[in-house]
């Protein structure tokens, strides 16, 4: 029987070790969160690991809310988020013993897309709110065909969802018939097949999609419609930096504590010109150089 007890003890020990890999491998950095940043995060990690073979970085997606929840639950070192952390989440983190530190690592414009055959040329922020809260239901009310609007949204764990809800919907509820698709690339697929659909998402995902049309957005009735793209069909940096394009946001990384060691080195590399160049390559907007 003593033998059995020893076995159980050692099994329990293995269990504990598996549950807290962070504590046992200092050179292992786990990054989790926003699906918007996951491609960017992976490119960063690949290049960084190539230059620093002693560090291993794992990047997974799941959504900004998922990443921050993982930070609070202690299962990730860095949380990617495409929205700032909420006051409620800071409180939850504190009661779990964490003090989240925030890093702005890039910018992104949220593009609104429709099918290429949709005649609508631009939308105002108010029309966009009307569409997504369910008050505008037909394309003819915003200058399009007489056809019902099919709304595509994101799951509630998406940072894009939270950002859109706050900035465009002014925190009102989405219409109940908003379909949710898992990920922005699924929206691309949906809109290219749905002539009356509308969707939103990070602009990088919608570049060079022949079946989609990215709509310019007007702040209000009087202002000019601004496209998130420049004349070359790439993301327009100035429009996002200046706030000229109304639906642009920062991308964030959060750590549980003030970062030190390998994590600190990694984050400062991301903010360096080398790291910011990758932001550009992936299709997002680098931070404005001061």
């Amino acid at each position: 029987m003593k033998n059995l007890r020893n076995k159980i003890l050692s099994l329990a020990l293995i269990g504990i070790m598996c549950a807290s890999p962070v504590a046992f491998a200092a050179n292992n950095i786990t990054v989790k969160g926003s699906d918007t940043i996951v491609i960017l995060g992976q490119r960063w990690a690949e290049l960084y690991m190539k230059n620093n073979p002693d560090v291993s970085i794992q990047v997974t997606g799941g959504g900004s809310g998922t990443g921050i929840a993982a930070l609070i639950n202690g299962t990730t070192d860095i949380a990617n988020a495409s929205r700032p952390i909420k006051e409620k989440e800071i409180q939850q983190a504190k009661s779990a013993g964490y003090y989240p530190a925030e890093f702005k690592v890039g910018m992104d414009s949220i593009a609104v897309v429709v099918n290429k055959d949709n005649p609508v040329q631009s939308l105002t922020m108010k029309q966009l709110m009307g569409i997504y809260t369910g008050r505008i239901n037909n394309w003819k009310d915003v200058g399009g065909n007489n056809a019902e609007i099919i709304r595509y949204s994101r799951e509630s764990n998406s940072g894009t969802y939270a950002f859109f809800k706050e900035l465009v919907l002014k925190n009102q509820d989405f219409a109940a018939d908003c379909q949710t698709v898992p990920g922005t690339s699924a929206s691309v697929n949906a809109i290219s097949k749905d002539a009356n659909g509308i969707a939103y998402g990070g602009v990088a995902y919608f570049l060079n999609q022949p079946n989609l049309k990215i709509l310019p957005i007007k702040k209000d009735d009087k202002s000019q419609a601004v496209s998130p793209l420049n004349v070359e069909g790439k993301a327009d940096y100035e429009a996002a930096w200046s706030g000229h394009y109304p639906i642009a946001r920062y991308l964030y990384m959060y750590t549980g504590f003030k970062p030190k060691g390998k994590i600190k080195e990694y984050l400062s590399w991301i903010l360096s010109p080398e790291g910011q160049k990758i932001v550009e390559e992936v299709g997002y907007i680098p931070l404005k150089v001061k």
Binding site: G62, G63, G65, T66, A69, I72, N73, E89, Q92, T133, R135, E148, I150, E155, S156, N157, Y161, A162, K165, N171, Q172, D173, F174, A176, D177, C178, Q179, T180, V181, P182, N189, A190, K193, D194
Partner: protein, 316 residues
């Protein structure tokens, strides 16, 4: 006494034997233990919902609408919001709108296929059909979901001119592919359990093959067939991946089969990743899980009762 009988009558003569016996016993009752633990855990976590959410909130919530400037009773699921709304009505609607048509479709074909396999098919045909069915049962549901999403959805929209490209019917078609092999297998088993004497007696009275099947065998197995349908329905309620991919996941309160729906399973799968452990939203998701579990549990019990009834009838 000889050595061997001595050996046999001595109890627990070796500790290893005792251990193996106990281990087998534990494996034997494992399913009971697992089910009770899951049950306990789901309900314990689910019940914590009511710390901060009233039972009425699960139906709907009075919310002030700044646009219409009055309070509105909102029956909606919007878990991430200033005022979270946790109505399970749209989710239950969604689950049934997928599971019910799926069961009807797979029952029509499944019962037919089961009868064919058990009563009509030659041994050679059966040997080809059975492995094919197993192959169908082995297709990962994510593959079926992808097929529905990418191909069948467009086809269904072109055919029925539906508003939503992804809708409950597309999901139901996919789920019926999963429940179909289950129903076929159970129906075939139920028919095979009918004693040969019954068929012989029917033939002896001059009945044709079709009359024997329709008037004797099928009525005798009707409770087994109903049990198969019930079990298929339970499986359809629990299917997740296909509905997550193919139904559009809009939480609408509707009875329209061609509307986009959000099922209980898809809702849990989509939202479980984000929630902070111990938050209100977390407990509500567990409650949804507990409700779903209760539904499938009741369905399984019902089918078990029905099957037992049939066994007793046949023994008489």
């Amino acid at each position: 006494m000889t050595d061997i009988t001595q050996e046999l009558t001595r109890k627990n003569h070796h500790p290893a034997e005792w251990l193996i016996e106990k281990a087998l016993f534990i494996s034997g009752i494992a399913s009971i233990v697992f089910i009770s633990l899951i049950f306990l855990f789901l309900f314990k976590e689910g019940m914590l919902t009511f710390k901060s959410v009233s039972p009425l909130d699960l139906i709907g919530k009075w919310v002030y609408d700044p646009y219409d400037e009055k309070n509105i009773f909102k029956v909606m699921w919007q878990s991430v919001s200033e005022v979270p709304k946790y109505s399970i009505v749209p989710l239950v609607c969604g689950s049934f709108l997928v599971a019910f048509p799926a069961t009807v479709i797979s029952s029509v074909f499944g019962i037919g296929c089961g009868i064919y396999l058990s009563e009509i098919a030659s041994a050679r045909v059966r040997e080809t059909l059975k492995p094919t069915l197993e192959l169908l049962a082995g297709i990962p549901s994510v593959v079926i979901g992808f097929l529905m999403l990418a191909v069948v959805a467009t086809f269904v929209q072109d055919l029925f001119h539906t508003k939503f490209r992804l809708n409950a019917f597309v999901g139901a078609l996919g789920v019926s592919l999963v429940t179909f092999p289950i129903i076929v297998t159970l129906v075939e088993e139920a028919l095979r359990a009918i004693p040969k004497e019954l068929r012989d007696a029917s033939y002896a009275l001059g009945a044709t093959k079709w009359q024997t099947i329709w008037k004797t065998v099928v009525p005798a197995a009707v409770s087994g067939i109903s049990a198969a349908v019930l079990l298929g329905f339970g499986r359809a309620l629990g299917e997740t991946m296909i509905v997550l991919m193919a139904t559009g996941n809009a939480a609408l309160v509707t009875l329209d089969m061609f509307s986009s729906v959000r099922t209980m399973t898809a809702n849990i799968a989509a939202e479980m990743g984000e929630v902070v452990q111990g938050s209100e939203h977390y407990y509500v998701l567990f409650l949804v899980g507990a409700i779903l579990f209760t539904m499938t549990f009741v369905l399984n019990i019902c089918s078990e009762v029905v099957i037992n009834k049939m066994r007793r009838k046949l023994r008489m």
